[in-house]
Amino acid sequence: MNMRATQKTEEKKKMRRDIVKGYVIFAIVLVIAIILLLVFPDKQEAATTTAWNYFLEMVFILPAVIVIMGLFSMFVSKEQVVKYMGKTSGIKGILLAIFFGALPTGPLYVAFPLALTLLKKGAKVSNIVIFLSAWACIKIPQELVELQFLGLKFMTARLILTIIFVALMGIFIERLIEWTDNKRIGVSQEVEK
């Protein structure tokens, strides 16, 4: 109990240090930028206009996107993901893997242990690959920001292509692993009937 408490304060301290580090780096970058712009005054207007425009775009969407991420991380538990994804296969399995991967519930390193749990519970390798890939690059908040900065056409085209290629990759990796037949991903899976 006590140990866990100290561990927690340790983690908090580390987090605070990281945040401070971020602001220090920002300050350094800002100073460099100001010096550069003082040396090249003709670039000042272009730089400040761009900075202001990008700042506005961020201000309008970033808070909303971050609130969505907070909501999903509180309301969707890992247990629920494991329960619903389980051993599903076929198109349904692929769609569920994409759906649960796309929910904004944390960074990629959170997904690895979750993927292992799913594998142990008998999930298909293809679905795990798809799940991890969706987790990495089809997150709902990411898509929203992509929509804002790169437009609807770019966002939908990349989304559809990514889903197609990721599904193919999942199936390919599964075949390859079954073919070499070592099945040494963490824990050997249950033999499929």
Partner: protein
């Protein structure tokens, strides 16, 4: 304000109201989580904004275009895909960066490859992935992700 901004904010408002109705304490907690992550991501956001404005002000479009634009060919595409795999920028912030690169003369293929490898291939997270899911799985997933990133990029260039 663009329609995108309005849609995103309405969507968030809808989700949050729904959460409030479903579970008041959890909704409030998620707001706290959001504030914390906002404080954490803010410096990176500001850094990216400064970098983008310097990039657009100083890097001449014809130079950018020569390295990662239409004239750069496959070598440029590969180089930026590798860069995306090695760098560790939060995905959320890769999009404004990508937009500024496009604006200053980069090609659709390069920008797509950059975003895709940045999110899907993680050299920074590879050791952990190996530890948890095994060497074979991790190398296959990251290696193939790199290849499909190039494939997605080339297809994007062809259709957009």
């Amino acid at each position: 304000m663009s329609t995108t901004v309005i849609v995103i904010n309405l969507f968030t408002l809808g989700c949050f109201s729904f959460a409030l109705v479903k579970n008041r304490t959890k909704a409030k907690q998620s707001l706290m989580v959001a504030i914390k992550s906002f404080v954490r991501i803010l410096p990176t956001v500001l850094i990216i904004i400064v970098v983008i404005s310097l990039l657009l002000a100083f890097a001449p479009p014809d130079q950018i275009s020569r390295f990662i634009g239409d004239q750069s060919g496959f070598g440029g595409l590969l180089a930026i895909a590798v860069l995306g795999a090695v760098l560790y920028i939060p995905a959320l912030l890769s999009f404004p960066l990508a937009a500024s690169l496009l604006q200053s003369g980069a090609g659709v293929a390069s920008v797509t490859a950059f975003i895709t490898t940045l999110t899907m291939v993680g050299l920074a997270t590879l050791p952990l992935e190996i530890k948890v899911l095994g060497k074979k799985f991790a190398f296959l997933r990251n290696g193939l992700s790199f290849i499909i990133a190039i494939a997605i990029a080339l297809t994007m260039e062809a259709i957009l």
